[in-house]
Each structure stands twice: as structure tokens, then as C-alpha cells.
């Protein structure tokens, strides 16, 4: 077996700030990798670089063995709407607010060539129930949904093409605590049932513990510690990780 995503030597500066400083990371098939760290640690930048949305100044990112910088823009975008998914912190960034829930879910299917309305509709209905949204809301606009529903709709819209690798940027960030638990549990089930590989950026240690097989701790653009989720959280080695873990209430 080989890693699905493999990055090494990633460096990127914003002026005097080192957003990424010689970062190496790999993601294996079926593995959930959490990137944790405080705001400004470079974790969101890393996610953008790994998903090809931003170029690093140095280093390579390989997906399925191919350097993503060697892919044409067309190939990268094709990858982004089929093999990959991206879940944004703010569902408004990942949804089309003027298009119905069904249209939002169907878009990736249609973008990949689906041309049978009945099939697209059936798939949208199935995904709505899967993310616990009343299928009767299929023709409703996302702005009539609660924040938690919007986030679940975004997840359905992303997973409908059965991607192999999903990037998630603080997917529970803007939600109430009670809603977060429900979403996390749903994500956990989907990830396992679909055998997804996931790179999830979060500052929520509890979410990382629940979802991730492995954790990468970032600080000042560097990976300061990485390993098995429960080992990093229960037996942290780096001073920063110890601070991070000890700052959490009953993670």
C-alpha cells in the first residue's frame, strides 16, 4: 500500500511570516488525518496547498503518485470535482445559496456528466436522508436551512460523487455545541462507511479525537508533533502539544 497524498518540503512565506516551514505529511487510503494548532499556525494554508488551491514556494504534493503541480488546470479541477471534496467552515462558501438543496447535491453529478434528471433526483433524495435532512426539503433553498443543516447539505453535496479524499476546514467551527456533536457523529459514520481519506483542519481537540486516526500538530508553520491520535493526545511529547491538550476541558 502507498499513501494517497504525500507532501514533502512544503514551504511558503507571507512577507516575514513563515506560513509553512518544511512541512511533510502523508495521508493513507481510508485514513483520517487531523491537523490541529492555534489560529495562524499555518494549518489552513497547509490545507489549501495540499488541495492545489495555492502553490507552495518549495516542496511537492503528490496525489496517487502524481505531482499535483504537474497536472494541467483542467486535470486538477477534474480531480477537485470527482476524486476530491472540500468542506468549508462556512457552508455559504461551499453551497450555491440561490440553488435548491437538490440542485446543490446534483451539481457535482451533472458536472461529471450525469444527464438523467430522475437519477440525479433520486441520488439527491438518498443523500438528504443520509445527512438527516427531511427529503421533502429537496426543492428548498439553502438559506431557509439552519446552520447545521447547511453544513450537512454541504457535506452531502461534496460526498455525492464518492470522492476518495476530502479536505475539511473547521467543518464544525461555526456551529452550536449540540449541533457539533451530531455533525461529528454523522461525519464519523460517513467516513467509515465510504472508506474516505480525510484531511481535517480543526482546533477542536475533541473533534480530532473522535474522527481522526492520526494527528499532526502545527505551530508557526512547522509540524511539531505527529502520530496516532490517542497517543498524541494522551501522551503528548512536545511542550506546545502538552499546552494544547492541557488547555482542553475533558477532551
Amino acid at each position: 500500500m502507498t499513501p494517497l497524498l504525500e507532501a514533502s518540503g512544503l514551504s511558503l512565506r507571507f512577507g516575514a511570516i513563515r506560513a509553512l516551514d518544511d512541512v511533510a505529511i502523508d495521508v493513507w487510503p481510508g485514513e483520517v488525518l487531523a491537523i490541529v494548532g492555534e489560529s495562524g499556525s499555518g494549518k489552513s494554508t497547509l490545507l489549501r496547498v495540499l488541495s492545489g488551491q495555492q502553490a507552495a514556494e518549495a516542496g511537492t504534493v503528490r496525489y496517487d503518485g502524481a505531482d499535483i503541480r504537474s497536472l494541467s488546470e483542467a486535470a486538477l479541477r477534474r480531480l477537485s470535482r470527482s476524486d476530491w471534496g472540500f468542506v468549508h467552515q462556512n457552508p455559504r462558501d461551499g453551497l450555491r445559496m440561490a440553488i435548491s438543496a437538490g440542485g446543490n447535491i446534483g451539481e457535482r453529478l451533472m458536472a461529471n456528466g450525469a444527464r438523467h434528471y430522475g437519477d440525479i433526483r433520486a441520488e439527491a433524495l438518498a443523500w438528504l436522508s443520509r445527512v438527516e435532512i427531511d427529503p421533502a426539503r429537496i426543492d428548498a433553498l439553502p438559506r431557509t436551512f439552519s446552520g447545521g443543516m447547511q453544513q450537512r447539505l454541504q457535506i452531502a453535496r461534496t460526498l455525492v460523487t464518492r470522492p476518495r479524499l476530502v479536505f475539511m476546514d473547521e467543518p464544525t467551527g461555526g456551529l452550536d455545541v449540540s449541533v457539533q456533536a451530531k455533525l461529528l457523529d454523522m461525519l464519523r459514520g460517513l467516513v467509515r462507511d465510504l472508506g474516505l481519506s480525510v484531511v481535517i483542519v480543526t482546533h477542536d481537540i475533541a473533534a480530532a479525537r473522535l474522527l481522526a486516526h492520526r494527528i499532526v500538530v502545527m505551530r508557526h508553520g512547522r509540524v511539531v508533533e505527529e502520530g496516532l491520535t490517542d497517543r498524541v493526545l494522551d501522551d503528548p511529547q512536545h511542550p506546545y502539544t502538552q499546552l494544547l491538550v492541557s488547555s482542553v476541558l475533558a477532551a
Binding site: E73, A74, R77, G103, A111, Y117, I120
Partner: protein, 278 residues
């Protein structure tokens, strides 16, 4: 011919620039080519793009027909026809069969066009994706990569809301299985006429400064779903004047008590049928 103007109003350098754009457009069917649109002696929205295309391709031996919504006798059609009669001294006609160039707004003539004819469309908005994707740079990228799922989403929304595709005009088409194209605001009823048409079809958008083309015999397919195929819809009536049951009809209100009739929108087609019947 009016003195003091170059033949067909535009100067020769401008015509050459526009012809180059047209050649490029013909070479890449359905792809929008930017061009340096000139100020014309009529307002935007009245056909400035179509006029510049016509001015660039017209020669002294051409016969020009101009229609607006299918009619030869509306203000816009008459003005443009007179304009070219004055600045190019060309013959004009109202008969589709006699014209070598037909400039049109919102219709394709009912009579089938021939290889020796050119159809010039006036286009208000050349970008078929503009209502769906507000960023122009992003629409260009979508064309470049042939990413047209979003347009399909619009049709999906139509069916979800109305039970059918509700787009009645400016119905999006795929040209040569590559570029998504706006057919200009012609009724969807006319879309099938574009497919493999023997005549060259040129499209000019003056305000938006774009030219695009469909060369003769190019496949033009209206977007649809397998289980909701495209259908060319016309009012289910016969023309009150000529009795046609196959032409595209306009609904005309005849009094203030709700009276109305349906008549052919293509006035030349209707007239010739009536003459034949008489």
C-alpha cells in the same frame, strides 16, 4: 449611396479587424471572440453588434434582409435596412429566399436557409453563463475547460420547480459538442433550425464586444436531460392569416375585451403562403 461615408459605414481597417474576429470565430465554433466594437449611429440594444458584422461582410452585390422578431416591417428592421441601403447602396428585400445576408433579432426564418446565405444575429448578452457565474474570469475558465455542469443545474432547477424546462427563449446550446453558446434570444422553437444549418451563422454583441459563429453544417444541440428531452414548443394554434400549423406564432391582442389571434411571427413566410393560397 450616401456620399461622405466609407462603403457600409465602417472604415476598411475596422472591417478588417472584425473579419479577422469572424474568421477566428468560424475556426472555433461557438467560442466568443473579443473585438473592438465601434460606436454606431444607434443605441446599444438596437443591434450595434449585428450591424458591425453585417457591415464587415456585405458587398455591393449582396441583397440584405433584416427582421426583428420575425417581422420585416418593424422600426428596428426598417431602420437597419434603410441604413445599409444609404451607406452601402445594396439591394434590400423582405423575401428570405432572395436575401444573401439576413440580419435578425430574436428569430430564425421559417424557410430553410441555403449555403449561399449568411444569417447575422443581434446578441444582447453573449455569455450563456452570466446569470449563473458572476465572475467573468471564472466563466472564461469554465469555457476553456468545458465545465458546463452549472448550466445543467439551471435546467434541473427548472424541472424541479416547474415540472419541465421553463426556458422558452435564449435556450442554451452546445456547439460542435464543445462550446456552450447563447443562441441569442430566439425562441427555443428555433433552436433545431441551427443544427447543421447550410448557411453560415454569425453572432455580434456590440455592447459586450463579442463575436461568435456557427459554420455551415455544424452540430448544434440544445441542452436537456435524457428523461426530459428538449422540445420545441409553439402555441397550439393555426395562424389566423395563413392557417400554418407548423410556424412559430405571435399572440396578438385585437381589442380590449380579451380578443386575440395567433399569427405567424415570420411575416414573409406568412405572406408568401397567403399569396400561394390565393
Amino acid at each position: 449611396m450616401e456620399q461622405g461615408y466609407n462603403f457600409a459605414y465602417l472604415d476598411e481597417a475596422t472591417k478588417r479587424m472584425i473579419r479577422r474576429a469572424i474568421l477566428k470565430a468560424v475556426a472555433i465554433p461557438g467560442h466568443q471572440i473579443p473585438f473592438g466594437a465601434r460606436e454606431m449611429p444607434l443605441p446599444y440594444g438596437w443591434g450595434t453588434g449585428g450591424i458591425q458584422v453585417t457591415a464587415s461582410i456585405i458587398g455591393p452585390n449582396d441583397t440584405l434582409k433584416v427582421i426583428d422578431q420575425g417581422a420585416d416591417d418593424t422600426t428596428n428592421a426598417i431602420s437597419i435596412r434603410r441604413f445599409f441601403a444609404r451607406v452601402a447602396g445594396v439591394a434590400t428585400t423582405e423575401h428570405t429566399a432572395e436575401a444573401s445576408i439576413i440580419q435578425t433579432r430574436h428569430r430564425i426564418p421559417e424557410r430553410a436557409l441555403r449555403e449561399d446565405q449568411i444569417l447575422v444575429y443581434q446578441v444582447p448578452m453573449p455569455e450563456p453563463l452570466f446569470r449563473l457565474e458572476p465572475r467573468v474570469a471564472e466563466t472564461r475558465r469554465m469555457h476553456a475547460l468545458a465545465e458546463y455542469g452549472l448550466m445543467q443545474v439551471r435546467l434541473y432547477e427548472d424541472i424541479a420547480r416547474l415540472g419541465r424546462i421553463g426556458t422558452a427563449y435564449n435556450y442554451p446550446v452546445m456547439v460542435n459538442a464543445r462550446y456552450l453558446m447563447s443562441p441569442s434570444p430566439i425562441p427555443a422553437f428555433d433552436n433545431p433550425k441551427m443544427d447543421r444549418m447550410p448557411a453560415l451563422q454569425l453572432f455580434g454583441a456590440g455592447r459586450e464586444k463579442r463575436i461568435y459563429a456557427v459554420p455551415p453544417y455544424t452540430p448544434v444541440k440544445s441542452l436537456d436531460f435524457d428523461d426530459h428531452p428538449f422540445r420545441a414548443i409553439r402555441a397550439p394554434h393555426a395562424c389566423t392569416l395563413c392557417g400554418s400549423t407548423s410556424s412559430y406564432l405571435d399572440e396578438v391582442v385585437t381589442d380590449d375585451r380579451g380578443g386575440r389571434v395567433f399569427v405567424c411571427s415570420d411575416t414573409d413566410y406568412c405572406q408568401s403562403r397567403r399569396e400561394k393560397a390565393a
